[in-house]
C-alpha cells in the first residue's frame, strides 16, 4: 500500500481501467411502503420546498430488522402539518419484504416542515432514539423501548431559539461522542437565515422559481453536549463551532487526522467546505483550507450537498465523497494524513459522469461485496419541477463501482432498470434491510414515492455485518474504527449512522469479503480507548461485538 501512494493517481487509474473487471452491481424494486414526500407546493416558491426528504433505516424495536423512518414537509408558508399527507412516518419491517405503518402508535408523526433525521441511542438504554431536523423546529424523540417514543425536545434543552439568529433551519445532524465520555453528543447542521415573510421572489425563463442560495445569509452550526441526565448544553460558542458561518447541508464525522478523536466535515452551499478538527479539549479548529478541502481544483466554492466519509483505498484514513450541483462534479477527496487531502475527482474517473448530475444524499458502500467500497448518489436538480427547467429537474441516480487503486467506473446503466428511473431524489439511507449481506438503499423523491432499491447483485461474494455494543463507550459504539484482515488484505470502516444528506443509515458496519469466507483478524478501536481483537471470524453473519 505504501508503494502505491508514490504513484500518481492518474497512472493508477489508467492501469486499473485496463486490468480490472468489476463484479456486477444490481438493484431491483423492493416493496416500499406507501409514502410521498410532500413539499407543500405553492405558486409562490419557498426555499425549503427544494429540500427535505430525510430518511433513516434503523432497528427501533431491536428485532434485528431495519425499519424505516421518513420525514415530511408541511404547508407553505405556514409550516403546518395540517393533514395526514404531511405526517412523518415510521414503518416497521415485517421481515417478509413488507412494512407496516406504526407512526401513530409510536407517536412520531411530527410537527412542522422537517428536513433531516439522525439516529442514535443518546441515553445508552439500548433503544435507538430519533432526532429530526426541521425548518425553525427540531425534535428529539426518546425511544421508550415499548414501540413508542416521547418528544423530549424541550426537556432535553434542544428547543430554544438561537440567541442571535432566532429559530434556525436545520438540515441534518450527527450523533457523535466528541469528548469520548461515553455519551453521544449532537452536531446539528444549519442552513440559512430564512423567513417566509421575507422570501425573495425569483424566476427562471419568465416562470417563478426558487432563488439561489446567494439570496440568503448563512448561519453557524450547533453542537450540543450530552450531560448524561437526558439534557444537553449548547456548547457551540465555547467549542469554536459557532465561529464559522456557513450554509450547511451535510456533515460527515470521522477521525480525519488520525488522533483517535472524531472530527467533522461539513458541506456548505456556495461557500467553502468546513473541516472542524477536534482539539481533544472540548474545542474544534476549523481547518478546511489548510487541509486542502475547502475548494475543489476549479477554485470556486461549490454547492456542497451530501457527504460521506469512509476509507475508499483502505489505507487506514477516512476519505470523503461529496455531492454537488450540476456541472460541479461530485468531489472525491483522498485523505493523505498529515498533509491533508488531495482531490482525485478527475483522476478517479468520477468527474465525467457526475458532472451532469445534481447530487444529494450519498454513500460509500461495498454494494457488490468485492472488498472495495463503491459510491452511490441520489440525484435531482434543485429548481422547480414544474418550472421552466422542468426537463432537467428529475434525474437518474448514479453508481460508481470501485475498481481498486482509486479508480471508479460508472455502472448505473448496468445496475438495473430501477436505476434508469428519473426523479427529484433527495434522501438516501443505506442498510441491509433483508439481512442477506447486500446493502440496500432507501430513497426519497420530492413529491414522489418512497422507494427501496433492493440489492440483488449476483456475485457469490461473502460479507460480514458488525453490530457494536459499547460498554465504556456509547452503547451504539458510534466512532469505533474497525480494521478487518482477510487473505486479500486489510479493510477499514467506522461505526456511524449519519451518511449523505439529511439521512441516517444502518449503524451496523458492513464489509464485503469477496471470495474469502474467513476473517483472520478483526480489530476494534472503541472511542473509550478499548482495543479489542477477534480472530478467525466466519463470513456471512451479523456479528454482535460487545465492548470488553
Amino acid at each position: 500500500m505504501m508503494g502505491l501512494r508514490q504513484v500518481p493517481a492518474v497512472l493508477l487509474s489508467l492501469f486499473a481501467a485496463v486490468t480490472t473487471t468489476v463484479a456486477p452491481i444490481r438493484f431491483e424494486d423492493g416493496r416500499a411502503p406507501q409514502f410521498v414526500t410532500r413539499t407543500g407546493r405553492t405558486a409562490r416558491k419557498y426555499l425549503p420546498q427544494t429540500m427535505g426528504g430525510g430518511v433513516a433505516v434503523f432497528d427501533y424495536n431491536n428485532d434485528g430488522l431495519l425499519d424505516i423512518y421518513v420525514v415530511n414537509g408541511a404547508t407553505m408558508p405556514g409550516l403546518l402539518k395540517d393533514g395526514p399527507q404531511y405526517s412523518d412516518r415510521l414503518f416497521r419491517n415485517n421481515g417478509d419484504g413488507n412494512f407496516t405503518d406504526v407512526t401513530n402508535m409510536a407517536g412520531v408523526a411530527g410537527q412542522g416542515f422537517n428536513i433531516g433525521v439522525a439516529i442514535g441511542d443518546y441515553d445508552n438504554d439500548g433503544f435507538e432514539d430519533i432526532f429530526v431536523a426541521g425548518v425553525h423546529r427540531n425534535t428529539l424523540y426518546h425511544n421508550n423501548g415499548d414501540g413508542t417514543f416521547t418528544d423530549l425536545t424541550e426537556r432535553a434543552g434542544l428547543a430554544g431559539p438561537d440567541p442571535q439568529y432566532g429559530t434556525l433551519w436545520a438540515v441534518g445532524a450527527s450523533w457523535l461522542d466528541y469528548d469520548r465520555d461515553g455519551l453521544l453528543d449532537l452536531f446539528v447542521v444549519n442552513y440559512v437565515q430564512w423567513d417566509p415573510k421575507t422570501e425573495p421572489v425569483c424566476e427562471k425563463r419568465g416562470l417563478p422559481d426558487f432563488c439561489y442560495p446567494r439570496a440568503y445569509q448563512g448561519v453557524p452550526n450547533s453542537l450540543f453536549h450530552n450531560n448524561g441526565d437526558g439534557t444537553f448544553t449548547d456548547v457551540s460558542p465555547v467549542s469554536g463551532i459557532r465561529q464559522s458561518i456557513g450554509k450547511g447541508m451535510a456533515v460527515a464525522a470521522a477521525d480525519f487526522d488520525g488522533d483517535d478523536w472524531p472530527d467533522l466535515f461539513v458541506t456548505n452551499d456556495t461557500l467553502p467546505n468546513s473541516l472542524f478538527l477536534n482539539q481533544r479539549n472540548g474545542t474544534f479548529k476549523e481547518a478546511a483550507i489548510e487541509n486542502g478541502i475547502g475548494f475543489t481544483e476549479n477554485g470556486a466554492a461549490i454547492s456542497g450537498m451530501g457527504a460521506d466519509a469512509r476509507d475508499i483505498d483502505d489505507d487506514g484514513r477516512p476519505d470523503i465523497f461529496e455531492t454537488a450541483l450540476l456541472n460541479e462534479t461530485m468531489p472525491l477527496f483522498r485523505n493523505l494524513g498529515q498533509v491533508g487531502f488531495e482531490e482525485i475527482t478527475f483522476a478517479s474517473g468520477v468527474a465525467r459522469a457526475s458532472r451532469a448530475k445534481t447530487g444529494w444524499s450519498n454513500g460509500i458502500y461495498d454494494f457488490n461485496n468485492d472488498g472495495h467500497k463503491d459510491l452511490f448518489a441520489a440525484c435531482g436538480h434543485v429548481m422547480d419541477a414544474e418550472g421552466s427547467l422542468r426537463a432537467t429537474v428529475p434525474q437518474t441516480n448514479i453508481i460508481f463501482a470501485n475498481l481498486g487503486n482509486l479508480n471508479f467506473a460508472e455502472v448505473t446503466a448496468a445496475a438495473g432498470v430501477v436505476l434508469a428511473r428519473r426523479g427529484v431524489h433527495r434522501g438516501a439511507a443505506f442498510g441491509d434491510l433483508d439481512n442477506d449481506g447486500r446493502v440496500d438503499v432507501v430513497l426519497t423523491e420530492l413529491d414522489g414515492p418512497l422507494r427501496i432499491l433492493r440489492n440483488v447483485s449476483p456475485a457469490a461474494n461473502h460479507w460480514l455485518l458488525i453490530r457494536t455494543i459499547g460498554a465504556k463507550s456509547n452503547r451504539d459504539g458510534i466512532g469505533t474504527r474497525i480494521r478487518l484482515v482477510t487473505e486479500d488484505g486489510v479493510q477499514y470502516n467506522d461505526v456511524g449512522t449519519n451518511v449523505g444528506y439529511a439521512s441516517s443509515s444502518d449503524v451496523r458496519v458492513h464489509f464485503g469479503l469477496g471470495r474469502r469466507t474467513l476473517v483472520e483478524e478483526l480489530e476494534l478501536f472503541w472511542p473509550s480507548g478499548t482495543h479489542q481483537v477477534l480472530k478467525n471470524v466466519k463470513a456471512d453473519q451479523v456479528l454482535t461485538v460487545l465492548e470488553r
Binding site: 425569483c202 425563463r205 483550507i289 478527475f346 451532469a356
Partner: protein
Amino acid sequence: MKLQTALALAGALFAATDSASRPQPHRTAQNEQTEREAAKHQLRQVLEHDPNNKEALFQLARVTVEEGDFASADALFQKYLAISPAEPGAWAYLLRCAVGQNDPKGAANAQRQIELLAPTNLAVQAQAACWLAGSGISEVTGREFELVMSLARSQTSSEGLWYSRLGQCYEHAHDPSRATRAFQAAVDLDPSTETNYFRLAHLFAREGLVGDASEVMAGAVKHFPHSVTTRVEAGDIELEAGNPERALEQQQRAATLNPRSPGVLLLLGRIQLAQRRYPEAIVTLERAAKLAAADAGIQFYAGQAWMKTEHGTERALEHFKRSLALDPNRASTYYWLGSLYFHRYQEYRVAVQYLEQAVDRAPELEAAHQMLIQAYKRLGEDAKAAGELRRYQEIIQQKAKAEAAK
C-alpha cells in the same frame, strides 16, 4: 490673461471627467492631481485680485468638489450664490456639497431652489437626482426622482441619455425599482440606442427577473437584427436567464454575422463551456485563438476548455502558458497553471511557483491559498505552509472587518 488660463485649465479638467463616452488621452491619477493643483493655483490667483469673479469662484468650487472637500466647496458656492442667486447649476452643486456633508436641511433647501428656478431643466434635475440617489437624505429623496420622471413626456430622443445616466445612478445606489423606471424611460425615448436595452436587460437579470430581461433583449434583436453587439448581449442575457439554447442561438447568429470576430467567438466558446459542450467549445476557442493568437483571454478560455476533458491536460497547459506570456498580470492564469501542475501532474515545486504569483496578484483568491498551503506541505516545507496559512487568515480577518464595517 490669468483668468483665461485658469478657466482653460479647469475646463480641460472637467472635459476629461465629465465625458465618460468620449475617448480621452490616457490620464493617470498623478497627472490629474497635478493638473488640478495647477488649476486651483491659477484660480486662487485670479480671486486674490478679483474676489467676486464669478467664473473663477464657480470653477474653484467645482475643483474643490472633485477633491471631495465638500465643506470648502460649500462655502465657495454659497459665496457664488450670494453674487448670483438664480443659477440652478450652482444650487445643484450646493446640493452635492450638502449630500457630501450629510446635511439633509442643506440638501432640501438646494433641491427646493432647483425646482423653483429650473422646474423643466432635465439636465440639472437629473444631475441633482443622481447625487441624491442612495444618499439616504429622506427629506428630499424620492421627490427629485419623480420630478425627473415627470419630465420624460416632453423630451426628445436625444434626452434619453439623461435617463440612462439616472438609471445608472440608482442602480449604483442599489435602488433597482427606480433604476428600472429610468432605464425603461431611456428605451422609450430613444429606442435606437442599443445600450439602453442592454442596461435595462442586465438590471432585470441581476434582479432575478430573467423573463423580463429576455423580453427586453428580444425587443433589441427585433430593432437591431444585424447588430453583432446586440446578438452578443442577447446571448449573454439569455445565458444569465438560464436559457442556454437561446443564448447559443444568439451567439451563433453573431458568429454568422461576423465569423472572423475573435471576440464573438470567445463569447460563443464561453457559452459552450458553460453548457458543457466541451468539444464544441474547444473548436470555437481554437478558431478564435487562430484569429487572435495574441489575445490572452482567448488563450485562457481555450485552456479552460481543454482542462474539462480527461485527456486535454497538455493542450490546456500550452494555452495557459501562452495566455500568461501575453498577459503576465492575470492572477487566474497563474492559479490554473498551479492547479494543473498540482492536480494533474503532482509537480508541486512548479505548482508553488505559479500559486505564489497568483496569491501575490489576487490575495482574495482563497482557493489559491488553499492549494499553495497544500503544495508546501507536499514538499515538506511546513514552515512555509504555516506562514501561508497565517497570511491567508490575516486576509480573511481583514475581509471580515471590512464586511462588518460595511
